[in-house]
Amino acid sequence: MAAFGSFALIIALALAAWNLLAGALALRWIATGQPAAISPERLADTARRAGIAGFLAVTAAAFSLVWLVFTNDFSITYIMEHSNRALPAPYKFAALWSGQEGSLLLWAWLLGTYGFVLRLTHKTDVKLYAYAGTILAAIQVFFLAILNFAAPPFALLRGATPDDGNGLNPLLQYPEMVIHPPMLYLGYVGFSVPFAFALGALMMRYPGEKWIKVTRVWTMVTWLFLTCGIFLGMHWAYAVLGWGGYWGWDPVENASFMPWLTGTAFLHSVMMQEKKGMMKSWNVWLIFATFLLTLLGTLLTRAGLVSSVHAFAQSSIGTWFVVFMGLVLAVCIFTYVLQRDHLKSDHHLESLVSRESSFLFNNLVLLMACFVILWGTLFPILSEYVVGNKVTVGAPWYNRVAIPIGLFLLFLTGVGPLLPWRSTSLRAVRRNFVLPSIAMGATIVVCLAVGVRPWKDGEFDSGNFFALVAFALAVSVMTAILSEFLRGAGVISRQTGRNLLVATWLLMRRNTRRYGGYIVHIGVVIIVIGLAGSAFNRNVEQEVGLHSTMAIGPYTLECVGFTQDSNLNYNSDYALMDVYKGGKKLFQMSPEKRVYLASGQPQTMVAIHSVPEWDLYVVYEGTNPDTGQPIIKAFLNPLVGWIWAGLVVLVIGTLGALVPSLTPATASLRVPARAAPSEPALKGGRL
């Protein structure tokens, strides 16, 4: 099976190379009108078919690797290093992306899948899709070249074949790890498609904005995958790493966040191009940058340029990525310079205070956030290069620099939808901003009254201050969005006589894109409220004996026992903690400590009890070597559940925005010159 997999990879590379060469040649002949020995259209079609066949070949290779994992073939280095016999079946799938070679194969397979869908739907616009397919083939050649020559997943183990493998990294043996990496990769890889369309449209000087419409759907789907991937990663970090947090500004986390930011900027600025024909160059460069940032993220993950907790997939293939990124950038610059006159835009704004300018500022802030994160991620390298002194840029730096930018973005999230396109009057501004301003003021007063104050122990506390600002802005933005819904639903309700709920549904169906976007914004607001809660996290750590207690917030935890369990994969120690509130027993929590047999590595399994106000988060940290007593660390993390709830709302909003809007039923009627149509027919009767 290993030989079959290797062979499938070579075939896939050959097919991708043919797709690239034949596709490029055919498109060149078509563009220049040069006479050719064979029809360029037929050549382009063979390229497309090669792309489809290439997908089948990569699928065969991916299937081979999965097969080898499930059949415990430890003669393959990759399988020996990332799996073992006792590994549960779902994690055998996870072994596919737990290491360098497997995750690159997953990348190639997902790219092949996206390409397959694109090539099957080529009749939407044969020429544009041919360009996009050829560009995707170029990207695929790169990944398949790495898989064939630098990081072969089917490499045979030197020496005798062991009876069992090293097992999967314990950190990855968690249900979310079965879906988090594929989701993230679907996002990363997915941005290749809008990139291919953008570059292709520029190369062929595609007339009009149709390519934007095609790209928008792909970008939204990709953006949704990336968003889910990022949040699943956050939840995994929260539930597995046991440090009570979900985002540590780790370089690899940052690497996934940067393309998300530029992708978000693109989804906003693209509306300017669709509606006003503006920002054409900007949009093209946003997509180029997003794609390059996905490559940069992969480079950071693989090359070990910066120290990261995601150290399980490092290797020396960084050079490949640097060269490829250089090539991509050169092609982008060359194409842009050559075709820039095609992107000339009619830049006219009627007013400084308008939806258009709010989009510009929104893009500015999103790009700034991206720059800040890139700067923070790369500064240690820069510092070492310039002054020979490596420094750490950790959470304290990001909290001071990135949070104000994030809050400004939240402010724009509220302001933007309140501004009309083109221009507005001072009276309209005043009318639209009254409610959100009142909501903001009321929130500040309530927060100060309940103890959310920007000072602690008489001193200014930046965490509390940012939390206060975040709460106030969040409520204000929520009010602004809901008032938009109410305003529209009110008009429909008056027109149709339906109640407000039905009118809201109709409103959303009539403009799914706009109101789906608003729901996404509501999701973001809920997430921000959850994030702001972290300013009030508390924790307590102590050794606990049988029946000893520890208190945190309103809860008292009593240790009522310790127990052990074991299976073929790991041994577990549990602490059984009864949780009391106001003297009444509420529930029992059982934080766990595992030791995996294959690797001998320990792993915490956090016990979490989540309610809307907070999460009670209990970690069994191990035993004190001096006293032999177990150590329990308990956290009370306010509002964490809001983050995951916000994600659900955000996903619903994005899916809603992808649904086509309801168009009013129309019918054309051929009317004889002297015969007027009957009344019922005019009113929409059967025609």
């Binding site: 440090w243 009570g244 947090g245 540590g248 780790d250 509306m271 509606k275 120290s307 990261s308 907790v309 830049h347 006219h348 704004l349 009627e350 007013s351 400084l352 939806r355 300018s357 510009l360 500022f361 500015l364 700034m368 720059f371 800040v372 700067w375 923070g376 500064f379 240690p380 510092s383 310039v386 002054v387 002194n389 490596k390 420094v391 750490t392 840029v393 950790g394 959470a395 304290p396 730096w397 620099v401 930018i405 309140l418 009309p420 083109r422 309209a428 639209n432 122990d457 938009e484 403009n511 894109r513 706009r514 789906g516 608003y518 400590k593 320990p602 915490t604 970690v619 940290e621 191990g622």
Partner: protein
């Protein structure tokens, strides 16, 4: 007896205040330092069982606070022993200062650039509108806006 009770209470309060100060300083400082085992985690948040570094570092930090060292002295001691990478954020002097200034400088420049761009684009349109508009079209536009409210796709 009452005076004795008041004295005991005052001592207890002083001790508890001291304890609170020391523990909040400990908490604050361990979040300004990194664990040096290579896990890339903040010292106060590193919870690896059997971590070869964090336990020792936390003990050193506790000892520094008990000895009455200032925050700066404690941090300097750590930098002297482990290097600048032990600090969770760059300092505010030397080349490190660039880390803090650059984002705000770039943001200010970009903000200025965007404002200038919007103004330039706005001026161009104003001239265009001035030529093209007439009282009747203005009235029509105003009527459309009034009747449609805030409109435009998202």
């Amino acid at each position: 007896m009452r005076a004795l009770q008041a004295g005991a209470l005052a001592v207890a309060v002083c001790f508890s205040m001291g304890a609170t100060d020391a523990s909040s300083r400990f908490n604050s400082l361990n979040h300004r330092l990194m664990c040096t085992c290579g896990c890339s985690e903040i010292l106060g948040e590193c919870n690896h069982v059997g971590c070869p570094s964090s336990t020792g570092e936390l003990q050193e930090l506790r000892a520094g606070i008990i000895e009455g060292k200032s925050d700066k002295e404690i941090l300097d001691t750590f930098v002297g022993k482990y290097g600048a990478v032990v600090l969770a954020a760059p300092t505010t002097h030397g080349f490190d200062l660039v880390a803090w200034i650059a984002p705000f400088a770039v943001f200010a420049a970009a903000l200025m650039g965007t404002i200038l761009l919007v103004r330039r684009w706005s001026v161009g349109k104003t001239q265009f509108v001035a030529q093209a508009s007439s009282p009747s079209t203005d009235a029509l536009k105003e009527k459309i806006r009034r009747e449609t409210g805030i409109d435009g796709g998202f």
